[in-house]
Every structure is written in structure tokens, then in C-alpha cells.
């Protein structure tokens, strides 16, 4: 059995974070909240960057026990064709959205790399910032995507507990724990500018997973010094398919995790999606979270056809409109920011180190 890499198991680096996350921690939740709020305000100001997901396809080749789109579910499958993508993006733009996250399932013939690349090309014409949450790719594929205007890759390890990972990912390419673990590094190697990491809270011991996630981020930061990084806190919600998460993460523990990550990673973007309720998201505004999704649909498409009654990958708990959501942000004295990127900065990140060209230097005697 292949051993876990040292960087994932070295607990010296996570002592401070572990102390904050421990259930019998000496830091009160209120004290952590105050510190997290102060850091967030100083570093990110009174702003919240907004994005929205667009599910391109729900075809999938993997059998994740917890997912509504797993390949054994009876969910009707389809994918958006180029003209539909155009229509969806146009509908999203009408809502003010200019930062889009494109999603697919694991790699299939119906939604393969070429399909994804073409979709990114279309989105990059319409949107100011395009990121992708899809299947693990090769370095060359990531480089190609970066060249088409993809700036960010979101890829969750789901759980860093290998035994649980292998039990939950029953078949398909996602079964490969190490392939998944090495994906963010491949994306950065390929010139993707930022990676979004996370664990699916509820699948395994959440504190153990949070510590591994932190080590993963630190490892990537040391290896790819130009990397932008963000952390999401997706919490298991009732799924299409009826999976019950074995480890419940309550509101208090989730809050503790968000505050502790803000304190441990003062410069990192922290993301909270519409999986969480309006009240929870409003409460977290200004306390640590700096990026939120808005008016999300987790069905394939859905922006151009609001009457779509199809079931999504998971249920949305904050279903407010962009307008309602922005009004709530403003009430908390936070500015919603729709465009926080400039396409002039698109293109593969230059990770190379300049070398002396042969023949250009004189020997020194």
C-alpha cells in the first residue's frame, strides 16, 4: 500500500489550528469570531466577491455513495450544447453575474476534455472570470484550459481519510485517492492561477479532515509560490439519492472551522455556497468568508429556464435572488463585488525560471 506523503501527516504544522478546532479548545467561539472578523476586515475590507455555478453536464462515470449524480442513480442525464451554454450565460449576465464556475461530473464520453475546453472558450467570451470544477486532468490539459481563459480549478478531496475515501468512492476514476490528491498540484503545474480546495463535511471526522486540508494548502503554497488558493466549506445536505452523512457538522463546529481557517490563513479566500441557509450566510458575512455563490442552480443549466423542476446535485438552502442577497449584504455594510478580475490577466501562469541562453555569456577567467 502506497504510504501517505510526509506533508500530509506532519502534525507539527497544524498544532495551532488543532488547538483552535479541538472541542475542548481554550479559545471561545466568540473570541475566535472577533479575531477572524478583524483579520477579514483588514485584509479584504468591506467587500464580498460573488460568483455563480453553471452545471454543464450531469453525466458521470463514478459511483460516489453520497452524490445525486453518481452513475447508478436514475437521474435523467444530459449536457448543455454550445447554443444552450450561450443562452445560460446570457441569462446569468442579466442577473449581473460575471464570475462563473463551470461544473461537470467525472470524465465521460459525453462530457470529456474537448467538451469542457469548448465550454470554457464560450464562457471566457461572455464572462470576466471563468473557473472549473470538473474531473482531474493532466498537466497538459490544464495548460490548454488556462490558455482558453480558465483561471481557477476547484477540486475537493472530499475526505483525506483514505479508508473512508475508498469506501465512499465505490467505482470509477474518482476511486483513485492519490490521483485526486495530486490534482491541484497538476493544475498549478499547468499554469492554472488558483486552486480551490475543500472537504465534504460530514463524510469523515471533520477536524481530522480540516487539519489535512490545511497541510495540503501549505504544501501547495510552498511548492507553487504563485498559487492563488481558496478554501470552501461544503457541508453535506440531503442529496438526490438519500445519503445520510455519518459525521454531522453542526452550525457551531462549522463556524469554528471558518474562524480558525481565517486566523491560520489570513490571506486566503474563504468560500461559502448556497448549501447554507440565508441566516447562516448573513451571519457569516464580514466574519471570515470573502466569496459567496449567488442565485445558484444545481441542475444542468437552469438560469435560462427557471421553471425547470428537475432535481439538482444537492438542495439549495439559500434561494434568494441576486437582488435580495445583495440587499442583505448592504444591510451589513458589505459591498457585493461582481467583477474582481480582469481578462487581461488570463493565460497560463508563468512558472518557469529564466535561464541563461547558451552563447550569451562570456567565460570568466
Amino acid at each position: 500500500m502506497r504510504p501517505l506523503p510526509d506533508w500530509l501527516t506532519d502534525d507539527r504544522e497544524t498544532a495551532a489550528l488543532a488547538a483552535m478546532l479541538s472541542p475542548d479548545s481554550s479559545s471561545s467561539l466568540e473570541a475566535l469570531a472577533a479575531e477572524s472578523k478583524a483579520i477579514t476586515l483588514r485584509r479584504f475590507g468591506r467587500t464580498m466577491t460573488l460568483y455563480a455555478p453553471l452545471y454543464l453536464s450531469n453525466y458521470c462515470s463514478s459511483g460516489c455513495a453520497y452524490c445525486g449524480f453518481a452513475s447508478d442513480r436514475k437521474t435523467p442525464r444530459h449536457r448543455l450544447e454550445p447554443d444552450e451554454i450561450h443562452r445560460e450565460l446570457a441569462a446569468m449576465k442579466k442577473l449581473g453575474i460575471s464570475d462563473v464556475l463551470l461544473l461537470t461530473g467525472e470524465r465521460t464520453a459525453a462530457a470529456d476534455f474537448d467538451y469542457l475546453r469548448r465550454s470554457v472558450e464560450i464562457a471566457a467570451q461572455e464572462m470576466q472570470r471563468v473557473s472549473v470544477e470538473a474531473f482531474p486532468m493532466s498537466v497538459n490539459e490544464y495548460r490548454e484550459l488556462a490558455g482558453c481563459g480558465c483561471t481557477g480549478i476547484t477540486i475537493y478531496q472530499e475526505t483525506y481519510n483514505r479508508e473512508r475515501y475508498e469506501a465512499l468512492h465505490r467505482w470509477g476514476p474518482k476511486k483513485e485517492f492519490f490521483d485526486r490528491l495530486e490534482t491541484p498540484a497538476r493544475a498549478l503545474e499547468g499554469g492554472i492561477k488558483s486552486v480551490g480546495l475543500g472537504v465534504l463535511l460530514g463524510l469523515s471526522d471533520p477536524v481530522e479532515d480540516a487539519l489535512c486540508l490545511y497541510r495540503h494548502l501549505r504544501h501547495l503554497g510552498r511548492t507553487y509560490w504563485r498559487a492563488g488558493m481558496s478554501v470552501s466549506f461544503p457541508r453535506m445536505r440531503p442529496q438526490t439519492g438519500g445519503y445520510k452523512p455519518p459525521f454531522e457538522v453542526d452550525d457551531f463546529l462549522l463556524a469554528r472551522m471558518i474562524f480558525a481557517f481565517r486566523i491560520a490563513l489570513p490571506d486566503t479566500e474563504l468560500v461559502l455556497s448556497t448549501r447554507e441557509s440565508a441566516a447562516y450566510r448573513d451571519g457569516m458575512t464580514g466574519l471570515g468568508i470573502t466569496r459567496m455563490s449567488i442565485e445558484s442552480r444545481t441542475t444542468v443549466g437552469g438560469y435560462d429556464d427557471p421553471e425547470n423542476k428537475e432535481k439538482g446535485q444537492f438542495e439549495i438552502f439559500d434561494d434568494r435572488t441576486v437582488k435580495e442577497f445583495c440587499a442583505a449584504l448592504r444591510k451589513k455594510n458589505i459591498e457585493p463585488v461582481f467583477k474582481n478580475w480582469e481578462p487581461a490577466y488570463n493565460g497560463p501562469s508563468e512558472g518557469k525560471i529564466a535561464t541563461i541562453q547558451p552563447g550569451k555569456t562570456k567565460p570568466c577567467h
Binding site: A227, V337, A344
Partner: protein
């Protein structure tokens, strides 16, 4: 009158304001007005032509007496910054460009190599280049050589509020520089801005300290007063600082004494 000279432009205010991190555009505009700033920086990534409510360029352009200085925040290479500068000039009509290249989006420290390269290209193209740099006296001179309108060394990390932690290096930069030295980033309080001005800085740039203050317009005004006071003090000439007490019985009294 004591003016700040940047290229062919003169400014009576020596406070430059950043426009990010505010809770809304109205408060930001109030702070700009209250600061009396005549030069204001705005990130190209916050230009939004498709959605006026999300756009910072439009409302800032509408203020009279303000010169805009677009910045390339978000760029991680010289090539990206040059591209951004071209777009920014086309959209804003301003000849100023604040070259801000931070390849690591976590700590936002400026890349000296890419910054030098972008500044060299843009100065040649006729931009008034204002490079954001670490407080490096050699880099500052190299940037002056390629024709920058100023250098903007950081007081401390962006948004850190640690004040002029690089004072010793900034002192050397000021002593050696033939162009205005503008402390950019890290200032938390008006007294720190006054200190930078007393040291001989040509101006200071402030953003977070105003944007996240309890009352941004009031804080902007406080910074304006501190900057003016600091400049006046520099002009008046501070009394020399002495590190040690002077002995009442002089140690050198024996010198020149008659036998």
C-alpha cells in the same frame, strides 16, 4: 506653493487615495472628497462596463478635480501588466499607471523583476509610471533610470496596518532619489502618514486605513491633515535628533589646552 510634481502634472494635495475595500461606492466617493486627494487609484479589475452598479470607474470619473491612476492589481507578470495598462488608458484616458505586480495573491508582495520590466516598457511608451515596490534602494534607482514618474515603496504589507516598518530603507531611497518617493501600503494611522511625510516622502497612498475605518470620510480628512502637517514639518526642517546626552564636563576639553 509647494506642489507634488509627477511628470508634467502638479498636485497641491500629497495624499493619494485607494478606492478598494469600501462598503459601497457612496461612502468611497465621500471619502475621496473629504480627503481632498487629487490623485486617486482604481484597479482595472474593478472597472465594470457591463454593470454600472458594480463599476468604480464611472462614479470616480464624475468627480471634478480628480486625476485617475488605474492600477494593475491582479497582474502577475510584466506582460499582463502591460496589457492591463493599455486597456486602462483606453478606458480611463489617464496617462498614469500604477504598476502593481504581485505574483503571489496571498501576501501580495510586489515582484521586483516583473515590475522593472513592465515599468521600462510602459515608461518608453509614454505612460507616467508609478511602480509599487518593496523598499529596495537599488531597485528604486533602476526604476528612476528607466523613466518612472515616482517610486512607491511599501511601508509594510498591503492591508497589514503595520505602519512604516521599512523606515530605514525608505530613508535611503528618499536620500538618493531624484523623483518623488511615495509610501504605499501598510499605513494604519494618520500619525504614521505624518511620519512618512516628515521623513521627506513626496506623498503617501492610503486605502485600507480609510476604507475600513468606522467613519471613512472622517478618517480621510484626518489623513489629509496629517499629511499636510508632516509636509509642513519637513519643509520647516526638524531639529536634529541626538542619540546620546551631552556630558556636562566635556570629554574633549583637554584638546587644545595650553600646557
Amino acid at each position: 506653493m509647494d506642489f507634488l510634481q509627477l511628470g508634467s502634472y502638479t498636485f497641491s494635495s500629497r495624499l493619494i487615495l485607494g478606492t478598494g475595500k469600501f462598503s459601497n461606492a457612496t461612502v468611497m466617493l465621500e471619502a475621496v472628497r473629504a480627503s481632498g486627494a487629487q490623485l486617486v487609484t482604481v484597479a482595472l479589475r474593478r472597472f465594470n462596463r457591463e454593470q454600472p452598479e458594480d463599476d468604480l470607474l464611472g462614479p470616480l470619473s464624475a468627480i471634478e478635480g480628480i486625476t485617475l491612476m488605474p492600477n494593475t492589481s491582479g497582474a502577475s507578470t510584466a506582460a499582463e501588466a502591460v496589457r492591463a495598462a493599455h486597456i486602462a488608458r483606453e478606458l480611463s484616458g489617464s496617462p498614469f499607471i500604477k504598476v502593481e505586480i504581485h505574483p503571489n495573491p496571498q501576501h501580495l508582495m510586489p515582484d521586483p523583476i516583473e515590475t522593472y520590466e513592465a515599468a521600462r516598457i510602459l515608461a518608453k511608451e509614454g505612460f507616467l509610471v508609478m511602480p509599487y515596490i518593496t523598499a529596495d534602494p537599488v531597485l528604486a534607482k533602476r526604476l528612476e533610470e528607466v523613466g518612472c514618474a515616482s517610486v512607491m515603496p511599501l511601508g509594510s504589507a498591503i492591508g497589514s496596518g503595520q505602519g512604516v516598518a521599512t523606515a530605514a530603507m525608505i530613508d535611503i531611497i528618499i536620500r538618493e532619489s531624484g523623483i518623488p518617493v511615495i509610501v504605499d501600503a501598510g499605513l494604519r494611522s494618520p500619525s504614521e502618514a505624518a511620519h512618512a511625510m516628515e521623513m521627506g516622502c513626496g506623498a503617501v497612498l492610503v486605502n485600507s486605513a480609510v476604507a475600513v475605518a468606522g467613519n471613512p470620510p472622517e478618517m480621510a480628512e484626518a489623513f489629509a491633515e496629517a499629511v499636510a502637517a508632516g509636509r509642513k514639518a519637513f519643509h520647516a526642517g526638524l531639529m536634529p535628533k541626538s542619540g546620546s546626552a551631552i556630558a556636562t564636563s566635556p570629554l574633549t576639553a583637554f584638546l587644545g589646552a595650553k600646557e
